[in-house]
């Protein structure tokens, strides 16, 4: 086992890794930017090293400084957390070159899965359903019409060079397809100087369900069941839970098995997540693999009793998985609410600043992962997550009640947070009944405010 690990991250995930290290008897080395200087969680690490100014590109994203700190602190491994360099295959390679273990998947698998086309190919190879699409650029309107009929309307027109929704159109019939191709091409031309387009099946009001994976370096891969993260706002997850409500058991199992097949095909190890869209008929389609630990990993920890961070560390140290698939039992229901320093009243504007009061909830069934304390100043430089509030109860009904109770107890002053909207969400009939899809908030919520 490693004697010392450097954590190339900040905030709650840095604290999460520090806690795992402490419990495993491993020394932890925290790095920090000047914006995080004095943050209380840093004092829980065995050592802390300032690596740069507030700007992430000069600190948490600056590979030479991280490696330099790792070498100076004489660590055997680096935990990248999530975000920042966690899915950067080059960083994983540099670690390998420097004989420092990267606590994550092998760079080869990261690279393959990081490329959307490559990942899609791998999925098909593994027999995992993907969103039907044109498998290449559209050559003519006739080509597009034929494809659209094949995959059934509605379809999505996408710019090959696209991003941020530009050059994207939903077509519900032949006429809207033809007009959509024209306008999407124009938009893509002017935005990216590349008018090439492709087609994809448009999944209406899809649910986002993902499967947690864990694999060791000997090719043993297991799933730790699914998480439903359909409640999002502008593609930012707000609430995650497990099990996915109203998901037929057969679909659930097929999805989990598919995720394992894909990971095996990709030569994956460590923790990872396979994301799917699920349509109204419970058909699921592979979207992507997140080759890292995820924000919402504690949901899975609660329902399986398996510590994912410790598992990641053990796998990186060369240990085999200590369990087989049949040993991983899913029990009860876990829900996570992301508490961000944002003002929901002003379009979720970030609300950094001094936390003057921080009174977290407690009692049965409550887990709180947070680096915040009273007197902590949330810096304006990074993402706004200040806490992950989780509950664990035997049933979903009880979990909802427990979450409502916990949210009502949570008092934060000095900054605005998303606590009030979570209080509303937990009282929504649609959420209670498990009828939420990824467009729910946009469709129903924004109108209210």
């Amino acid at each position: 086992m490693f004697q010392r690990i450097l954590i190339a991250n900040r905030g709650e995930i840095a604290l999460r890794v520090i806690r795992a290290c402490k419990e495993m008897g491993i020394e932890s080395v925290a790095v920090y930017s000047e914006a995080d200087r004095g943050a209380p969680y840093l004092d829980l690490a065995d050592q802390k090293i300032c690596i740069g100014p507030a700007t992430a590109s000069e600190s948490y994203l600056k590979i030479p400084r991280l490696i330099s700190a790792a070498e100076a602190a004489d660590v055997q491994a680096i935990h990248p957390g999530y975000g920042f360099l966690s899915e950067n295959a080059h960083f994983a390679e540099v670690c390998r070159d420097c004989k420092i273990e990267f606590i994550g998947p092998p760079p080869e698998a990261m690279q393959r899965l990081g490329n959307k086309n490559e990942a899609r190919k791998l999925a098909k190879q593994a027999g995992v359903p993907v969103v039907p699409g044109s498998e290449g650029l559209i050559e003519s309107d006739e080509d597009a019409l034929r494809l659209a009929k094949e995959m059934d309307f509605p379809v999505l027109i996408k710019a090959a060079a696209g991003g941020g929704g530009r050059g994207m159109r939903v077509a519900r019939d032949e006429a809207s397809l033809l007009s959509g191709l024209v306008s999407a091409r124009q938009e893509a031309e002017s935005a990216f100087k590349d008018g090439s387009l492709y087609l994809e099946k448009y999944i209406e009001q899809p649910r986002h369900v993902e499967v947690q994976l864990l694999g060791d370096r000997e090719g043993h891969i297991v799933h730790l069941w699914e998480r439903d993260c359909s409640l999002q706002r502008r593609h930012q997850k707000l609430v995650e839970e497990s099990p996915a409500p109203n998901l037929p058991d057969k679909v659930r199992k097929a999805m989990c098995d598919a995720a394992v097949r894909l990971a095996k095909t990709a030569g994956y190890y460590s923790a990872g997540t396979c994301e799917f869209l699920v349509d109204k008929n419970h058909k699921f389609y592979f979207i992507e693999v997140n080759a890292r630990i995820q924000v919402e990993h504690p949901v899975t920890e609660l329902v399986t009793g398996i510590d994912l961070i410790k598992a990641q560390i053990r796998i990186a140290a060369g240990e085999k998985l200590p369990f087989a698939q049949r040993d991983i039992v899913h029990r009860g229901c876990a829900i996570e609410c992301r508490i961000n320093a944002e003002n929901p009243a002003i379009n979720f504007r970030p609300s950094p600043g001094l936390i003057t009061r921080w009174q977290p909830p407690g009692g049965p069934g409550v887990r709180l992962d947070s680096h915040a304390v009273a007197g902590y100043r949330v810096p304006p430089n990074y993402d706004s997550l200040v806490a992950k509030l989780l509950v664990y109860q035997p049933t979903r009904t009880e979990a909802l009640a427990c979450m409502r109770r916990a949210l009502d107890e949570f008092v934060v002053e000095g900054i605005h947070t998303t606590i009030p909207i979570h209080r509303d969400i937990m009282r929504l009939a649609a959420f209670r009944d498990g009828l939420v899809d990824t467009t729910f908030i946009e469709r129903t919520w924004q109108k209210k405010s």
Binding site: E34, R37, G38, A39, P40, Y41, L42, D43, L44, K48, I49, C50, I51, G52, P53, S59, P64, R65, I67, S68, A69, E71, A72, C98, L354, T356, V373, A374, G375, Y376, R377
Partner: protein, 164 residues
């Protein structure tokens, strides 16, 4: 006291006080005294012995390793900076080298005069040696780190007297 002018803050409004304090801190104010009829906000900053700058005289002693928010100044700067001197700080993370190569004389020593482009040391990170320039004028009065010592971002490397 809760008069109809809701937006106008009262003296016990901690946010108002906080904003004032931030101003004081940012602009090095030592005193603020605001009055409005019977209302008054008076704040004074500093003016007590530096020894009293520790967290706060609370009853319970606890291990220094425990977290406490904003526990005064942290590792770098390691020693007390003097107000008239200019500090040359490490712009990166790595190993400090005082000389160009083993056996060479140090780039600079106490008493050396430096100009902004004077190379004062090298910092090595991942086998790459970065030459560090003084970026100020003056005379080196202190070399703050040992040769081959690991330096963080912001570690004070040299102190320079700009008035000589």
């Amino acid at each position: 006291m809760a008069d109809d002018a809701r937006k106008y803050p009262g003296p016990f409004d901690v946010r108002t006080v906080e904003q004032l304090v931030l101003l004081m801190s940012e602009y090095e104010l030592s005193e603020i005294d605001l009055r409005d009829g019977e209302q008054r906000i008076a704040l004074r900053r500093g003016g007590f012995s530096p020894a009293a700058s520790a967290p706060a005289p609370v009853e319970m002693a606890r291990p220094a390793s425990l977290p406490t928010p904003k526990a005064s100044a942290e590792p770098p700067p390691p020693s007390q900076p003097s107000r008239q001197l200019t500090e040359i700080k490490s712009p990166t993370v790595g190993t400090f080298y005082a000389q160009e190569k083993p056996g060479s004389p140090p780039y600079v020593a106490v008493g050396a005069r430096v100009a902004p482009t004077t190379i004062v040391c090298q910092i090595e990170a991942m086998k790459i040696f970065n030459e560090i320039q003084a970026e100020c004028n003056g005379t080196i009065v202190e070399v703050c780190v040992q040769n081959k010592e690991f330096v963080e971002y912001g570690t004070v490397l040299f102190r320079v007297d700009p008035n000589t």
